[in-house]
């Protein structure tokens, strides 16, 4: 009559199933062979992380809505840390700002997307997508380590990177939430958010 935990059936590997558990129901700690692998237990799926990274890096690649709907915060955490680390290399110790602005920005986008979309969206999904699309900003801040971004070339590069980040983010949101025709409306707030990150990198 003990409170039974939800049996884990390996759903994290949507849509392709590369791991099939040996038994349909597995009790943790009952059998060493029955335990799922550590990464699956932690919810880190390297293949999906790689897919999402590629979707962000290729602006013209079509986003797969089902993959994007997963809440995966491991990738975004790594990217935020990498962003903070590249800022550190440029002499700016601003981890606090990065996390604060990410949190507030995610909250703002979450409210906005919930208001604008037909289906709702979860906070984890928003945080995950915005975190992944921070990747080009890491390129900008690593460029800022070596060259100053305050000239005309810096302005153009910054504008380009902001456009790239917000374009990817809006592309993923549109495909995950089925909001055709509103890509520009979703891209603009993303551009404002990434603009604030760019301000941190540049100045």
């Amino acid at each position: 009559m003990m409170q039974q935990q939800q049996p884990y059936t390996g759903q994290i590997y949507q849509p392709t199933q590369t791991y099939t558990p040996t038994t349909a129901q597995s009790f943790y700690g009952s059998n060493f062979e029955d335990e799922p692998p550590l990464l699956e237990e932690l919810g880190i799926n390297f293949d999906h992380i790689w897919q999402k990274t590629l979707t962000v890096l290729h602006p013209l690649k079509v986003a797969d809505g089902s993959i994007m709907n997963e809440t995966d915060l491991a990738g975004p955490m790594v990217f935020c840390l990498a962003f903070g680390a590249t800022l550190l290399l440029a002499g700016k110790i601003q981890f606090g700002y990065v996390y604060g602005i990410s949190a507030i920005g995610c909250l703002g986008m979450f409210c906005l997307l919930n208001l604008m979309s037909m289906t709702g969206v979860s906070f984890g999904c928003v945080a995950s997508v915005l975190g992944y699309c921070l990747l080009p900003m890491i390129l900008l801040s690593s460029f800022a380590v070596v060259f100053s971004l305050q000239g005309m070339m810096g302005v153009i590069l910054t504008a380009g990177i902001i456009g790239w980040c917000s374009f990817s983010a809006s592309k993923i949101f549109i495909s995950a939430l089925a909001m055709e025709g509103q890509q520009l409306l979703v891209a603009y707030p993303c551009a404002l958010l990434y603009g604030v990150f760019a301000l941190i990198s540049v100045f």
Partner: protein, 338 residues
């Protein structure tokens, strides 16, 4: 009951917001709405909401206690081993009751779905409204249509925040009591919400036909001129250029807002009060933003450019005063010790 509420809703359109809240409260499951209390002219039905909530909370607590009590009585005669499990079940039920109550309160007060219709826009509509915000209407004899939309104004306020931040960063402004981001957000949102509320209040006094959402929307779109002006003049620093933009672009957006308000107000004095206040606040805000946030750049430019700047002057240090003070204290200390 709902028929009576709907009829009253139709009769008093201005009180639409109130009616919605009451209906939402009524339909959320509490059967304890007292219709007689709704005629109370104390001015606020929030007291009734508070009462209703208190009653709901008490009912929930009674239910939970009763359920807990029953369980305990029923199982008390059972084996001792089940006591721990009983405790857990009771705790579980209390948790469920608390959660239900919290989600009811949340869905009642923090329901952002109320704002959903104001965000239902197409990009082309936003673009058209942005362009129209700079074109004053000519026809002021019948009420001009105002789009009751909040996406455009909200994005414009955030854009203004971003432009202010950029201006502050390029001019190395240092804010001592607070952060750059906080100052920028406070200024812009404070202006948008504060001035909208103030003008709405004045409009209420002057009998103008405008709702709060329309006022927010109108003023928000009026910030488009501010954004354009500041974006250009923070990057190209000429005072004369700024004044041209201030009068031209700021003036155009103010004229549009004024024309819309005039079309919705009757009576010369009322029009004058309302439109005078709005134009003064709007134009002065642009002036304030320009001068408060880029002074430092001006200072740097002057020192870099100036044949008019006097050469760096050295001021002699006043050494005798210092040394005499030191001498005096030393003497006193020696006198005390010896």
């Amino acid at each position: 009951m709902s028929g009576a509420v709907a009829a009253r809703g139709g009769a008093a359109a201005d009180w639409g917001g109130f009616e919605d809240t009451m209906q939402a409260g009524g339909s959320s499951g509490s059967a304890v709405i007292d219709m007689e209390n709704m005629d109370d002219t104390s001015g606020s039905s929030f007291e009734d909401m508070g009462e209703m909530h208190q009653r709901m909370k008490e009912e929930e607590e009674e239910e939970a206690e009763a359920a807990g009590g029953e369980e305990e009585d029923g199982e008390f005669l059972g084996m001792k081993g089940f006591r721990g499990q009983l405790g857990r079940q009771v705790a579980d039920q209390m948790w469920q009751a608390g959660k239900r109550q919290a989600s009811k309160a949340f869905s009642l007060y923090a329901n952002i779905d109320i704002l959903r219709p104001y965000f239902d826009v197409e990009p082309i509509q936003v673009r058209n409204r942005l362009l129209e915000s700079m074109i004053p209407v000519k026809m002021i004899n019948f009420p001009q249509k105002i789009a009751g939309e909040l996406y455009g104004p909200l994005m414009l306020v955030f854009t203004l925040v971003a432009i202010l931040l950029h201006g502050m960063k390029t001019s190395d402004t240092i804010i001592r009591e607070g952060t750059l981001m906080g100052t920028a957000i406070g200024t812009c949102f404070g202006y948008w919400l504060g001035v909208s509320s103030f003008i709405y209040f004045l409009a209420y006094l002057c009998n103008a036909q405008i709702t709060m959402v329309q006022m927010l929307s109108l003023l928000g779109y009026g910030l488009f001129g501010h954004c354009v002006t500041l974006f250009i003049t923070y990057n190209i620093h000429f005072h004369s250029l700024f004044y041209v933009f201030w009068l031209g672009i700021g003036g155009l957006s103010t004229l549009r807002m004024v024309a819309v308000l005039v079309s919705r107000t009757v009576g010369h004095t009322q029009r004058l009060i309302l439109c005078g206040t709005l134009s003064a606040l709007h134009m002065l805000f642009l002036l304030y933003l320009h001068f408060a946030y880029h002074k430092v750049v001006e200072g740097i430019l002057d020192t870099l450019e100036g044949p008019n700047v006097p050469p760096f002057q050295r001021v002699a240090r006043d050494i005798p005063v210092v040394s005499s003070a030191v001498l005096n204290t030393t003497v006193k200390v020696m006198a005390l010790t010896s």
